[in-house]
Symmetry: C2
């Protein structure tokens, strides 16, 4: 029923103590922790052990390690990137198909647009218009800047999420877009008429958000995403079967032969 209370691993104890000190606010963001040599003495552990602990804290986004004189472990405030990264890992580990991502996005973008319309500030609107202008110039520049257009499209969606003022929307939507663009790029449409239609959606969307018309923003965003997904899924279908998520967990316990070996030159 219960696990052994005290962890047997020293580095976990170090992680826990430093994490607690950071999360409790005893060590504020921006503060530099003592150097590794000092910390090792404070905790009574060896340097490799301490470094494992620092690596874990770094991976959690709680500290950032700077080199050189005056460097050291600096306390950070965790941001949305960690959430996006772990969500991305989940998606990449082949448990999430394109349809899942698309469906999820459809569910969320409308809501985000509506909230953004209710809360947008003047600077949000200015930023959106600026991005829209960028997108337009990319579009009119022809095929050479189509990649850039898709990037601007993404930025507009993320700027709308920012306008909601809700960091959860920001990180979740960032994760979704990040993963759509990274792993399904080959299915994004580059045909001119479709890109133009896309652009017109965005223009209407920004207008609705700027006007504070939540219902219109919701409707336009939902329609935009639905069409976008339909096109992408059509291309995915014609390009062959989309990989389906696997189920179950293999129980094999053989040793894996790690294929690549790029770092094989030992130092003299």
């Amino acid at each position: 029923m219960f696990q052994t209370a005290r962890s047997t691993k020293v580095f976990q104890d170090v992680v826990a103590q430093i994490e607690e000190a950071i999360l409790s606010g005893r060590i504020p963001a921006g503060e530099t922790l003592p150097s590794e040599r000092e910390l090792k003495a404070m905790f009574g552990v060896s340097r490799p052990t301490l470094r494992e602990a620092l690596r874990v804290l770094e991976e959690k986004g709680l500290i950032e390690i700077r080199l050189g004189t005056g460097g050291g472990p600096v306390v950070r405030r965790p941001d949305a990137r960690r959430v996006a990264e772990s969500l991305g890992l989940l998606i990449r580990s082949q448990r999430v198909a394109l349809e899942h991502l698309a469906e999820f996005r459809e569910g969320i973008e409308g809501r985000v647009a509506a909230q953004a319309a209710l809360r947008r500030s003047a600077s949000d609107v200015a930023r959106l218009r600026e991005l829209l202008a960028q997108a337009r110039s990319c579009l009119e520049a022809g095929p050479g800047r189509r990649e850039e257009f898709l990037e601007a499209d993404k930025r507009i969606h993320l700027a709308i999420a920012d306008a909601t003022g809700n960091p959860i929307y920001q990180s979740v939507l960032a994760s979704v877009h990040e993963n759509i663009h990274r792993y399904y790029e080959r299915f994004l449409s580059m045909a001119a008429p479709e890109l133009r239609e896309n652009y017109e959606d965005l223009e209407a969307l920004v207008a609705a958000v700027a006007a504070g018309d939540a219902e219109a923003a919701r409707r336009i965003a939902a329609g935009h995403v639905t069409r976008f997904n339909a096109r992408m899924q059509a291309r995915a279908a014609s390009a062959g079967r989309t990989r389906r998520p696997r189920t179950g967990r293999p129980k094999a316990r053989t040793r894996a032969a790690l294929p690549a070996r790029r770092l094989e030159e030992p130092r003299p």
Copy 2:
């Protein structure tokens, strides 16, 4: 514009290579990687360096390290726990307020319920009814099992997310519930009438999902969550100001004095 391509840190290179091997599927989940001593030879690095890399991979949820003979680094499939944890870190570091979490949940639960209604299988329905019965018995047992009732409530929501068949809904909703219960537990209502109302919502929700009535499911779920949030926020307000997220980033660069020092006995 560009960063130096090759990372200067050896352990990052090791992380990247193993991560790529795992995510590309070359090493499937369940497989055990070579032992540390073998890996260190394969990559041409020292053991501490290799171990830092393994710690990072473990923290990412990509491997799990087992002790003893036949142990070693075992490839895992990342699950929602990492997402929930990083979201929790975001919340605990005071950048996410209760309102943000509540708002996000309101946006997603209706959609989840509707999708579940469209796709639920017989076994999903059976599981929901079972959980509902548990919740009811907890409710009728009186105050002593109210914690348990809230737990059952959570499980019902997660079971509905399971029924959608979309792993993104599952992990995102799991993360939200996890964090609501961990960090806002003191604001959850324990009053009998409210719990009963909660239960009745759930009963109606399960009925709608079972009947395949997506629109009803959506409406009931949305209302349920809205009421739940309103109650929780009322309690939070009366218990004092909800902590607001801070903005900006302190730039102070002094050395922090780490207060605690529990591991101070050096080994003999």
